[in-house]
Amino acid sequence: MESADGAARTLLSIGRLSRGPPFGRAHGRFGLSPSGRLLLPAPRSQENADPQRTAFLLRKQWTLYSVSPLYKFSNARLRDYARLLGAFIAAEKQKGLAVEVGVELDIKVAVSSLPDLKGSDQDQAAILVQLSSRSPASPKNSEEKLVWSGWFCCVSGDELSENVPEDFTCLPLFLANGAESYTSIVGSWFQKTFDCSFCRLAISPLNLSWMAAMWTGCKVDKTASAMELVFSVPCLPQPLDISYAIHPEDAKALWDTVQKTPGEITQEEVDVFMDCLYSHFHRHFKIHLSATKLVKVSTPIASAHCDGIIKFLQSQYLTGVLMLLTELAISQIQ
């Protein structure tokens, strides 16, 4: 995985999702899964990747959305956006009353840029939106409580950004943490202001198995927690989940026997890896996991749920995971 600078996208999935101008042709864009992917790249270069600066993104549950390109978004106006969004939130919260822009409000909005979260030079810098509340009792007290945060990002999303005219900003992946009511207000504001649309990004079982395989192959420094796969059994009157935990070293050993070319993964390898796990399980419990649905993958790198919820655990692999998620988001948009 040392080979992998995010820019070296030799494996760009076959004939995927390049969109020409409107009313032009796009070929083979019908959600085919790529036949091969790069292993998670390590962070781009050490100089601009201070793990401290993105540490706050770790160990939180993020709900995933795909976002179509933002129209007339400008990085130079983040401060204005914060002001307008603040007024919008206040207005939404007290429906119907006019709100003066720029007045001190209960919810403070900060919009900032996260330049670290990039895959290639074409990627836009990620945008972080934070809402914090001031306690009404002591307005002068500077202590503010973070109530909601969300960020837009694009890691190696060249596929999308290359095909979009200047007026558009490609930040196809949106991650939110906090009350959904805030997600809804912030999302609506972005939709209205930049003519984009938000869509929940679910992760298919196929992509979850990709994640399981990709993340198994990653080195983690410390003794890590177990890798866990959760399966749900369909067509039962009561929901039944099967949890399958594997020692990370065992999983890694299995993966090493499966993987042929270091630094690269193919669909076939993923299938073999999962089949091995399934047959092992079948030997012990006489249950065919292949007949169930993979709903959650937890590894020391990250954990992902099919509903489109993710938790990052290693800042080292943050951009790598984001790259995969960006790819999924783009394929949902196009």
Binding site: R29, F30, Y71, D167, F198
Partner: protein
């Protein structure tokens, strides 16, 4: 005193009232509306009871109009009765517009006791609107202060609550000064402030008023209502109001909604239920809330609104560039086509492009503007919406089928308007057709198919034809016909688009790479072959119904004319599986249609041949000799079948009718030789019978062999007169009749 007349008109039957109910517009014109109509407007249509209520309200109003002197409530039963009538009707259905004048006059004139006045004021619940005149005249009562302070206060509170129900406000604005003068009354001051707050416009802010307000503030201290008005003044004219006001203020005004708000809402709800036109009354500017569950739901087509984001940016730019006068027209003000024309140079697209779908003016504008970002914004929005809201691709969406249908309908209409398919829609179809059951939103989906953009591109087969064919073969006859219909539209749209491109050949940019002529010919040929194939199979599956045949031949009516009408160097004959069922159809409609089609094929082929011969240079495209051969074989079969009675002998098509005489003899059919011509053809025999009956009314033997010679010509004329125009043009063009020769032929 027009109002009086209404009581004299005789009662009308209930259904007439019902009719009147729909005429809500009569109310809105304000001023003098036809009292009869408006009084009846919110009646439920069904019962006599309402009629009597109607009468009693009219009586009550007449009473209050005439009442002269102070009548004691306790002593007068009449007053009591009318007061209760007004109260109960007001609470149930609200009062009609012309009731307000009477009741406000009486309540504010001080003729009656305060208890009565209060009760009257409290029952002033509007059913629809309140005429401005009545408010103006009541303000004049206020100025002469005939009524008590409490009634004055109550009136002001009422006015604040029903402010939005007043039909016009121009005259009310003219009274701004009067209201302002009431500020000095300490009790009335808070309410007057509120009212002024509602009335104030920028031009109402005057230095002397500001001074007066500041004086009042100095006298009464920091009162929230004064602050509110001052901050509004400051907002309008910051240069005139220099004091600093505390920024934060929760509520400026006391709740003055009084007893009316709940009653107004109840009346509105009730009237909407019973009224046949559930038209929102005056406050209904907000769109009805969708019952959708997700915040990011896309199905609501956004309203067009100016892009604030850009506005602000522009303003910043303008600060730098003082000469720029290029202020754009706010979209909210764009209402008419002429406005569009006048402002077309400084219009801006809405903040959310999806809103153009419901705004024809913007669609016009979109048609003139060649801006890629416009389509791209629409592309992303529409793509996402279709994907997320599709009722058969996304579980749990079933319940929203109606909404989705409406949406697809809107998209289709937009495509028709722009004469252009959306690529997001095309992609949606390709993705969702394999999952489609052929039922949900059927007509909408099939109509959208007809706008799939033209492009030579091999995915058509796997993404459109294959899934469509599967559904086609397994669905009902009607579904098959609708598919054929929409494929015909698709073909026509492609051909039209091609013709437009031909016209604008010079700017070759329009031609995308994929639509070179040969590419186009290939795509069109692919579609026609596909339709030929499914038609053949469908005719067999369904056993050649005329209904289906009609749709198939309808498709070929476009195909046979492509060369001349659309300038496309391509002609494809129908397959034998379509041609023969039409030729041997039991129905003259199909036969006639086929004749017309063959005639058009002939005309096109002849024209093509002539062009080929006349032009020296080698044409890039010419019809292969195979096409001519195929046409000729069909013509031989047709002439044999309709004219020379030699179908069994002369037909040389491999799938044709040719049969050995030996074999024919075995059928034991008599006179098999003559079984097919315009007399004996099963589709024509009915005409032959009618013809004989008319020509020889006495002869009941129906001897068909009598139709020959001169009678043959008469028979032809008879057929043409029956509307078989296709047959006519076919015979006239394809059958060489030199009068005598043909006669002898016919006699053979």
């Amino acid at each position: 005193m027009q109002r009086r007349q209404s009581s004299k008109t005789p009662k009308q039957p209930p259904q007439v009232h019902h009719k009147n109910q729909t005429d809500l517009s009569a109310w809105r014109k304000g001023g003098r509306t036809d009292p009869e109509k408006s009084v009846q407007i919110h009646q439920s249509p069904n019962c006599q009871k309402n009629d009597s209520k109607q009468d009693s309200l009219e009586q009550a109003l007449r009473y209050f109009e005439k009442v002269q002197d102070r009548v004691s409530l306790k002593k007068s039963d009449v007053l009591q009765k009318h007061l209760t009538t007004v109260e109960s009707i007001a609470l149930q259905r609200g009062l009609p517009p012309e009731g307000f004048d009477v009741l406000l006059n009486v309540a504010l004139s001080g003729k009656l006791a305060d208890t009565v006045n209060t009760r009257l004021l409290k029952s002033l619940v509007p059913a629809s609107v309140i005429p401005e005149n009545s408010v103006v005249s009541s303000v004049s009562w206020l100025c002469v202060s005939k009524c008590s302070g409490n009634v004055q206060l109550l009136f002001l509170r009422w006015l604040i609550t029903v402010f939005d129900f007043i039909d016009h406000k121009e005259q009310l604005h003219a009274l701004y000064g009067f209201f302002f003068s009431f500020l000095q009354d300490e009790k009335m001051c808070p309410y007057v402030c509120h009212l002024l707050y509602l009335l104030t416009r920028k031009e109402s802010v005057k230095p002397f008023r500001i001074r007066r307000l500041l004086d009042l503030q100095a006298k009464m201290g920091m009162q929230p209502h004064l602050q509110a008005l001052l901050s509004l003044y400051k907002l309008y004219c910051p240069e005139l109001v220099t004091i600093t006001l505390p920024g934060k203020k929760k509520t400026y005004f006391k709740n003055s909604e009084g007893p009316w708000k709940a009653a107004i809402n109840a009346v509105r709800r009730r009237n909407q239920e019973s009224s046949p036109v559930s038209q929102p009354l005056f406050l209904g500017t907000a769109q009805p809330q969708s019952r959708k569950r997700k915040w990011n739901t896309q199905l609501i087509i956004p309203a067009s609104s100016t892009n604030r984001n850009n506005l602000e940016e522009d303003r910043e730019k303008n600060r730098v560039d003082l000469y720029s006068t290029n202020e754009s027209l706010p979209l909210e003000q764009l209402q008419t086509f002429s406005q569009l024309l006048q402002n077309i140079h400084h219009l801006e697209f809405p903040s959310q492009m999806g809103s153009v779908l419901t705004n024809p003016l913007l669609l016009h504008y979109m048609n003139c503007i060649k801006d890629e970002s416009v389509y791209l914004r629409l592309y992303y929005w529409m793509g996402q919406t279709l994907r997320e809201e599709c009722t058969w691709c996304v579980a749990d969406n079933n319940q929203y089928e109606e909404e989705f249908k409406d949406f697809l309908e809107t998209v289709y209409k937009t495509e028709c308007f722009l004469q252009e398919g959306f690529s997001s829609c095309e992609e949606f179809l390709y993705k969702s057709l394999p999952l489609w059951d052929g039922c949900s939103c059927r007509s909408q989906v099939l109509r959208l198919v007809s706008w799939i953009p033209l492009s030579s591109f091999s995915e058509m087969k796997s993404h459109l034809y294959d899934p469509l064919a599967q559904l086609f073969f397994t669905s009902s006859l009607y579904f098959k016909c609708s598919v054929l219909e929409s494929l015909k539209e698709l073909l026509q749209n492609w051909l039209n688009c091609h013709v437009i491109h031909l016209d604008s050949e010079s700017d070759s940019q329009v031609h995308s790479l994929n639509t070179t002529l040969s590419g186009l010919v290939n795509v069109v040929a692919e579609l026609i072959h596909f339709v030929g194939w499914i038609s053949t199979v469908a005719l067999r599956l369904e056993n050649n119904p005329t209904f289906l045949l009609y749709f198939i031949l309808d498709f070929y009516e476009t195909v046979c004319d492509m060369y001349l009408r659309y300038n496309l160097p391509l002609l494809i004959m129908p397959p034998a599986g379509v041609f023969y069922p039409a030729l041997l159809s039991m129905d003259s409609v199909s036969l006639n249609q086929l004749c017309y089609i063959m005639y058009r094929y002939r005309t096109n082929l002849v024209a093509a041949k002539e062009n080929e011969l006349s032009k020296k240079r080698i044409l890039q495209f010419k019809f292969s000799s195979q096409t001519y051969q195929e046409y000729n074989r069909y013509i031989i079969a047709m002439v044999g079948c309709l004219w020379t009675s030699s179908a069994f002998q002369k037909d040389i098509h491999p799938q044709g009718l040719q049969m050995d005489d030996e074999l024919l003899k075995k059928t034991t059919a008599q006179e098999f030789k003559t079984s097919f011509n315009i007399v004996y053809h099963p589709a024509m025999m009915g005409y032959a019978v009618l013809f004989l009956q008319q020509a020889q009314p006495d002869d009941t033997t129906l001897n068909f062999s009598l139709i020959k010679g001169k009678k043959w010509d008469w028979y032809l004329k008879y057929l043409y007169a029956q509307g078989l125009k296709g047959l006519k043009v076919f015979i006239e063009s394809s059958i060489n009749r030199i009068s005598q020769a043909s006669h002898s032929k016919a006699e053979n």
